[in-house]
Symmetry: none
DNA sequence: ATGTAAACCAAAATCAAATTGGTGTCTGAC
DNA sequence: GTCAGACACCAATTTGATTTTGGTTTACAT
């Protein structure tokens, strides 16, 4: 099969097909990585230079992809994706962020009601207490943020937590600078206090539907306040 | 100033203030990291136990935050905005991804049922048809992915779409290379065909609850198949 | 009882060594 | 002269051992 006498111009082509055959028959590991060039060249009985030429062809065809220090792999190069927070924030707006929160966070809360540990719940309680004691909006916001994140942590699901963090990062980027300290601190009867407590209570009672509803209710209130504020600001203009 | 004779019950309080004073005067590095506990305790001439108690107080106050292996830092804990897909994927696994999908995607579908345009719906129908005609699992997967993304697009919410893309990128990174062509192509009675159609039907009828349920039902089936596959693989070992 | 010191643990950072694809250089054969 | 092959070198990456660090337990002393 393999011609030892390939000094003819078909050399390139034959090495390519030879490599193709090897890849077809050899069962590669799950990640589709094939042996390093030095190894593969001796295994196929060809020089590394020639092997690399064949691999160049296969890479141009999109059959394989290579990366220094990593290796050569079958298939197409995995897109190195960074969820670009800044880009998302630029294309978004406060209303959209609120809508997304209303879609996502209640379900995260529902999941948290199922998986939260006592430690999670006591941390939520701590956040509640601290947010009540806060003597500035800045502090209050810190504890509010931490409460919501603790709920996401309580899902015990790193991916959900990551998605929540992304959502939150966009929220902060969009809302940035919008709220400044108008009143000195939240009033003791601020709606969020009651609503936050309802959420944590439901989580503690493992009431998944109740937790989701409480969170949805809370976010709807926040959304309403946000729209009111925008209206008022528009009227002042 | 510092009392060397604090055997009184005020010991705790004084150590806290002592540490506070240290933090106030010492110019910390840019990242706000303060010396390791062992070092700081000897520098302040107090035991590590006592120092840690003081740090506990400061942490509860939100003045500092700590992390094993990293150190203790001033300010509030930076939400690790690791929108880094690769990092998320490394810390995750197929089961966790499925759980996250079941939490997120049904609600996105519910929102889509409210906002989808006729153009969105006809594109969904196109994906359905193409996926039926696919003659390889690879092709089928392509249309399946596109259908799910079209649903996310139909929410008309760029942020939700971005979150979906992030979730999807992690899914692909985690599942990568795990599924390979056992049968040549999906059977005509593959469960996904019926389930996908139920989802699109519900969206077309503006049936928000039905759409969410159909999506949840679909993903639960996928999860079950995934777990079955893992079980079978485990038995073979 | 209370507090201290020491030991131990697991998470994370750190550092050195080995891998690996990419690139240039020199030699020898034709 | 041309070109393939062997070799050396480079930079990115992985791997593994070691160190550092906050958290926890244990033994001991006062």
């Amino acid at each position: 099969m393999d011609s030892l006498t390939d000094a003819d111009p078909h050399t390139q082509k034959s090495t390519v097909t030879q490599v193709r055959a090897f890849l077809a028959q050899s069962n590669l590991p799950d990640d589709g990585r094939l042996p390093p060039e030095r190894e593969l060249s001796t295994a196929l009985g060809i020089s590394r230079t020639e092997l690399r030429k064949a691999l160049d062809v296969l890479e141009a065809e999109g059959q394989i992809w290579r990366h220094v220090g990593k290796g050569t792999f079958m298939g197409s190069r995995p897109l190195d994706t960074f969820a670009d927070i800044a880009a998302l924030a630029r294309r978004s707006n406060p209303a959209e962020v609120m809508r997304a929160r209303i879609v996502i966070e209640p379900e995260i809360t529902r999941a948290a009601a199922f998986t939260a540990t006592p430690a999670d719940i006591s941390e939520m309680r701590l956040c509640l207490a601290r947010s009540r004691q806060a003597d500035s909006w800045r502090q209050y916001e810190g504890w509010d943020t931490r409460l919501h994140r603790t709920i996401a942590e309580a899902t015990q699901n790193g991916l959900l937590l990551g998605l929540f963090d992304t959502l939150n990062a966009v929220r902060r980027a969009v809302t940035w600078g919008r709220l400044r300290a108008l009143p000195v601190k939240p009033a003791p009867d601020h709606h969020s206090f009651r609503e936050h407590e309802a959420i944590v209570d439901a989580i503690e009672h493992r009431d998944m539907a109740g937790a989701a509803n409480a969170m949805r209710n809370h976010l709807r209130t926040v959304e309403r306040k946000l729209l009111d504020k925008q209206l008022r600001a528009a009227e002042e203009d």
